[in-house]
Every structure is written in structure tokens, then in C-alpha cells.
Amino acid sequence: MKLYDKLFDAEKFTLTNGKTVSQKFTRMPLIILMLLIGITVSVWVTGFSLTMLFTNITGFWQILASMFPPKLSYFFQVWRPLLMTIQMSFFGSFFGSLMALPFAVLAASNITNNRVINLVVRFILTVVRTIPTLVSALIATYIFGLGTFAGTVAIFLFSFSFVGKQLFEYIETVDMGAYEALTATGADTPRAFVTTIFPQILPTYLSTALFAFEGNVRYAAILGYVGAGGIGMILNEKIGWREFQSVGMILLSIFVAVVIIETVSQQLRKYLS
């Protein structure tokens, strides 16, 4: 950027009263150039082609159309795996969020006064968070065997790292006055935390956990793809067998479930804030 500013002189305006105002040369050409390079490289690497897209897109619409009308009777096979998906999400989100609390406390520098502990815990949270849930689910199936447990573990890990990060960042912004006052009465760190910080973070904590749960229900639907249980298993199967009306029914069921859960959860979150 420095070089760029040197290359292109700043524009100087001299006002009638002799004052000068200078404006840096606009960065627009540079930004556009970088965007163009980015697009060109990406198109080349991915083999993106508008012509192919427009000639073949009918295939996409055909599959979509063949999902209608969804095969309603198929619901009797859908509800069990769907319920299982929700159960996995709930279990994983619940314990992940629970586990996140002590880690968030250890990661927050205003409560845990030890730089090394702060950094180690943050590193753990970051590593866990960067591994995509589907990848951890896949690895979990190798370790724990195929089935819902692997999916629950993956959701647990995601919720743990997500809630942990959000929570520790929030703890660091909390008002420390009451905490100091309790320290002054002779309370130790755990007691002071529980009585003064915890009531302050509780609504945000619950609401973050609920938010993670909402996202997890949506996400858990694909975990079956790697054999980690839930509705993704039959989804995968039906797509493979090209039974698109059943696929439509599965998607419809997920849609309804997600809408219901999101509505309830959003209502709860509104109440919390």
C-alpha cells in the first residue's frame, strides 16, 4: 500500500484562502485489478463456465421438479431418523455448551490471570473450531464406529468450540466492578466468578447455546452422509436411488422441523435478552 501511494501521487487541492488539502490517489483501480485477477484465477482453477451452466441447468430444474409432489406417505420412514437428528443436535449442543463454560473461563484473561493458560485454551478452541464438523464426524466414525454417536461427538465438538469462543470474548467485556468488590470482601476466584460474573453472562451464554443448537439441527442433516447417523443416511440413499419424491419429502420434513425449532429458539432468545 505504501508503495502504491508513492507510485501514484496524492491529489492536492489548494483552496482560495491558501490552505491545502490532499487526497490519496483512489485505491479503486487496484481493488478492481485484484478482483479481476482473483476471478480469472478462480475461473481457471475451477473450470467455471457460464455456457455449460446455461446449457445444462435444465438438469438441475428437472431434479428439482421431480421432487414434487413430495411423497407424503414416506413420512413414516422419515420421522425416526429426523427425530434422531434432532436428538443428536440437542445432546451434542447441550454437553458442548456445558463443557464450553469452564474453558471460556480459563481462556478469559480478566478471570484467569495466567497468560499461558489463556493461550493454550484459546489454541485448543481454535483448533477444534477450524476442523469442519463433517470432517470430525468422519473421523469419529473411524474411531467410534458408524452410527449416531459419531455424529453426536462431532456436534459436541463444534458447539464446544463455538460457544467457548463466543463466551470467552463476552466474558472479557463484562463489567468487573462487582467482581472486584467481592474480591475485596475476601472471596476467592471461583466464588467471586459464580456470584458476580456468572449472572451477567448467563443470558448471553444460554442464547449462544440456543443459537448453536439451531445451526446444529440444520447441519446435522448432512452428517448421515459420512455414516454418522440421522436423516442424512436416508437422504443419501434416496438420492443414490434417484427416488426424488422421497428426497422431496425428506427435505420438506427437515424444513418444517427447522422452522419450528428456529421459531421456538428465537422466541426463547428474545425472552433472554
Binding site: 475476601g186 472471596a187 458476580t196
Partner: protein, 249 residues
Amino acid sequence: MIKFEHVSKTYPNGVKGLQDINLEIQDGEFIGIIGMSGAGKSTLIRTINRLNDITEGQLTVDGVEISGLKGKSLRQYRRKVGMIFQSYNLVPRISVIKNVLSSLVPDMPIMRVMFGLFSKEDKIKALEALDRVSMLDKAFVRTDQLSGGQQQRVSLARTLAQNPSVLLADEPVAALDPVTAHEVMDDFKRINEELGQTVLINIHHVDLALEYSKRIIGIRSGKIVYDGPVSGITKDILDLIYSKDGADK
């Protein structure tokens, strides 16, 4: 008895908060500490509770050198020394009585603390403290619904509930209007007289300090420039404490 002997405090960034302080405070005294902003009033008061550590000299309370206290013994010491802050430092989201009860948690088993299980005696203790500052009727109100003066009273009640022998107050009335300020100061005075607790208050308003304290300590640039009875305060001494220039003559 609180005794400062050649106490100095240098902050990590090099600022000298206190310089060679010598003080002797008897039990049951009511002391007002005055001085300009940045003079070191807060630093002085906070060292007594060990919210700040001193860097030189000796600070003994009832014959115990307090800079040597650590962990459990430090927490036990703090039980005896109550602290009240300018910004109340209450948890806004919880009820008044919960805030008062919070000063009792250091003596409670951690499991009870976690689930907020306070015994009936504890609750009575908290209500008594609230009664002393005439806030009994607000016991179950959420703290953030109170006015500033009321919150400062709750904060005072919280400290009273721990039954300390020394009360430290860092500008407790700075954020209050004159009438409310007088009411809160009256509370301090009554507590000092009825319970015999030592009271040390930092005050911005000289009038209030002179009206309520029996002894005044004047600080400037981390040094004590006056220490004596209220009657000894003259215009010259106030000038010395509050004048802008010639800090270190």
C-alpha cells in the same frame, strides 16, 4: 489499629502513587481523606484492603504485617476490612438481597455458592444490613431498578453484612446529588457511632469531609500534607492541598 510506616507505592508504569506515608489510625475513628484528582486517595485506601500492593515500607493492621498475607490468610484479613466503591459495583441483574448476600459467600461451601443456596440466618443477616441503611422494603427488587443513592446504600449494606471492623469507602458519594449524598454520609456516621467501626472515606467535597469526619488527611502527589483534626483546617492548608502549582516544594 492501622499503621503505615514509610509506605511507598510505585505503579508498574513508574507512577509514584504513594510516597513515604506514615499514619496511625485507631479503632473507631472517622477519617476523611481529601486531595486533588490523582493525588493518591484511591491508592491509599486500596492498599489497606490489598487491592493494591505496596512497594516499600510496612503496613500493619492489628499488629499483622499485611503485605505478607497470601491466599487464605489474605482472604480472611479482607473479611475484616469492608470496601465501598464510587461506582457501587453491584451486579445489576440480580435482586438487592442477592447482592447483599454475596458478601457472605467467602465463608460458604462452593456447592452452596453455585446453586445460590443461602441459609435463613444468612438472609436475616442481609436483611438486617439492609434495614440499617433503610432499604428493607427494596430487598427483593432487581438492583438495576434502583437510583444511584439507593444502589450505594445497597453496596454499603453488602459491606455491613460481612461485619467488618474497618470500612473503607472510595468516593462513595461522588456520583450523588447533595441531598442524597448527605443521607448516605449520615448512614456512615450512624454506623460509626453505633457499631464502632473505623471509617475511612475519600471525598471530593471538602464541605462534606469537614462536616462528617473527626480527622482529616490531606494528600497531594502521593504525600500526606495534612493530618489532624477538622478544627485545624485553615484556608492556607486547603490551598496547600488543592493548589495547582508547586507540587513538591
